[in-house]
């Protein structure tokens, strides 16, 4: 079941096309990575979902309904360019932002209190925002984004400005929120965190979507059938003894081991065959598939579409 669907969305600004016929499907209760280089059109798509701007063409559905103003309270948005009123007190400000999302006063207070205690910032309730450190402000911003328990959460570069400990805390909270039933759209350039968190991804480049799907499938699609192995006591000559279906990409000796990197040239050959062949050559101490990282997939796709 899809929580959010965008169908053939296009948007042209005064001087350039920001989105060109982009469709995405965000499955319910998943973390959806929205990826792309700078200026690809991610922020425009996010703004359309938030109804900050309207698309020129195409439709957006939330939970099967055409997107409308009532959905605002069901979406939480943490923009990349974010901030708070500097002169306003933390508590007052958080209350204000919560109530703009239609949370009743008393409930907003109770919720805020428990979140602030969890993030150890409750003592700062009556402080002005400008007195807080940047990391502290980011925490408050995060709390105000999730406070109204939105069905859909949109995080644009959520970890920027966080130290590793707090970034980790945030990651855990995001996964917890997903596990409790919310759906998360997550836009970032940090591919490591994409690998860690995302269930689905879509890659946007130059206003077009160039890749999407569940993370596992994308990875499988981009698997290169390359394996590495550590061998000991090798007495045969490589590559002659490997066989026709295998191509030796790399080999070098280190300590007592021979490191090899071998590609299986046709899809039908099982890695088991390679293991057999390698065991004839020497003692196998390790055997691993080289899985393409999101980083590689990202760079490869973007460069292909230049």
């Amino acid at each position: 079941m899809e929580l959010l669907t965008a169908e053939n969305v296009s948007k042209t600004y005064i001087n350039h096309k920001a989105l060109d016929d982009v469709s995405i499907n965000v499955p319910e209760q998943s973390i959806f990575g929205l990826l792309g280089p700078n200026g690809a059109g991610k922020t425009t798509l996010i703004r359309i979902i938030n109804q900050i701007t309207a698309p020129d063409e195409g439709k957006v559905y939330l939970n099967g309904e055409r997107l409308n103003q009532n959905h605002v309270a069901r979406i939480g948005y943490l923009p990349e360019e974010r901030g708070l009123y500097r002169k306003m007190k933390v508590g007052e400000q958080a209350m204000y932002l919560a109530r703009l999302k239609n949370v009743p006063k008393q409930e907003a207070y109770n919720q805020l209190k428990s979140w602030f205690q969890k993030f150890e910032i409750f003592d700062w309730w009556d402080k002005k925002v400008e007195e807080l450190s940047k990391g502290m402000q980011q925490k408050i911003q995060f709390v105000t984004t999730v406070l109204h328990r939105p069905r859909l959460l949109i995080f644009d570069e959520p970890f920027s400005g966080f130290d590793p400990i707090n970034a980790n805390l945030l990651k855990q909270e995001i996964m917890k929120i997903r596990d409790e039933g919310a759906t998360v759209i997550f836009s970032t350039h940090n591919m490591a965190s994409v690998e860690e968190l995302c269930d689905h991804i879509a890659l946007i480049h130059k206003a077009r979507k160039i890749l999407d799907g569940p993370m596992k499938e994308v990875k499988r699609e981009y698997s290169t059938n390359i394996f590495t192995a550590h061998l000991k006591n090798v007495d045969a000559h490589l590559p002659s003894s490997l066989g026709n279906n295998f191509k030796l990409l790399e080999k070098h000796n280190k300590d007592d081991f021979l490191h090899v990197k071998i590609q299986i040239m046709d899809k039908t050959t099982s890695p088991n065959k390679l293991v057999q062949n390698l065991s004839d050559i020497g003692e196998i101490h390790s055997f691993n598939e080289v899985i393409p990282s999101m980083n590689d997939i990202f760079i490869k796709n973007v460069q292909q579409n230049q």
Partner: protein, 452 residues
Amino acid sequence: MSKVSLIIQREYLTRVKKRSFVVMTILGPILLASLFIIPIYLAQMQGGDAKKIGIFDDSGLYKPAFQDSESYNFVFMNENLDSAKKALPDSDLYGILYIPKTEVALPETAALYSANQPTLEVKSHLKSLMEKRLEKLKLRAEGIDQETLASINTDIKFSSIKLNKSGEEEKSYAEVATAVGFFGAIVIYFFIFMFGSQVMRGVIEEKTSRIIEVIISSVRPFQLMMGKIIGIAMVGLTQILLWVVLTFGIYMAFTTAFSDTIDFRQQQEMAMQSQQMTNKLGMNNGDNMQNQVNKAEINPRVNKVFDVIQSINFPLIIGSFIFFFLGGYLMYSALFAAIGSAVDNETDTQQFMLPITVPLILSIIVAQFVVQNPEGPLSFWLSIIPLTSPIIMMIRIPFGVPIFDMTLSVILLILGFIATTWLAGKIYRTGILMYGKKVDYKELWKWIRYRS
């Protein structure tokens, strides 16, 4: 609670709670009330230590002119002028007035020697004493007595009476109408700038602190803009109300506190004068007469003040002040908001401020011509055009404005406010999300035509 009212509430409360608002609210009435109070207070303070002035009257004609008063003590000296001059710096004399003797005509020259630069007031006081005395002597020489002179002195009491349509008489005071009109116009001018630029700064603050995107994912940009404009309008009205109440309060408190001393002083003076009269009977008849005349005039003067106050149509003036303040503010503040949205910081606002400030400043400059001819074509057109009407109409109102002019002006101002708000809304919703771009008028025009 609707979102707009939440925004209004925030805009209002954060500003009203600011220290600068509290300070302005307290300082404003104090400054305003001091405009009335300080002159009264200074008049009370006058005197203090009496200045002692030595008189060398070689002519021998001026002695009756120099009567000791609260502020001046006169000492008549006969010894050597040169030695007195030498002793002056060490003596308790403020100065020495030397009147030389002349052979033919009456002596009309004098010299004042003093250790310090004599104040203008001292000089003019001594001068007027001498002049009065000399006039009296001349009159006597011509054979005119004091009574004849008093009967010749003329003061025409001029009151203008305006007839309204139903034939009722209304007293009109052009000076008062001018003052009231100018006051209202200047206050409106000042407030439009003050609160309009608060709107602008608020928009810039939201933009530079980057909270804007968070907010407009919850509310529409237009709601945010209107919430801000209305919230600040309410701050303005609160400030005006507090100023009026506090100024009135301070003034009332002052007058009641000082009315006793004023009465007391008057009694004291009267007692002193009657004593002087018995002591130096015959010598200062003229002065005394003048005093009595002054006292007789007090009552008519008080009556006149009441008359003037009654001639001002307060409900009309206050009502139209509030309308034209709000109308003008709403119209201009929408433009201020649009400017704020188009720039990244306050220093970039200059180029867009010009078209806004020109009509406002023009109104204030033209105001003096409008006062001279409140019914003329210039006055008519400028009080109709929405950009200038809030200020110019305020000047015309105390003189009486035809219903037609008034209605037209009000309708056009409302339309003007709707038009600028619509226009500003279009610039605003694009501008608030635009960073790091130098915006010019061409760009703004694109934003206006661009659909969201």
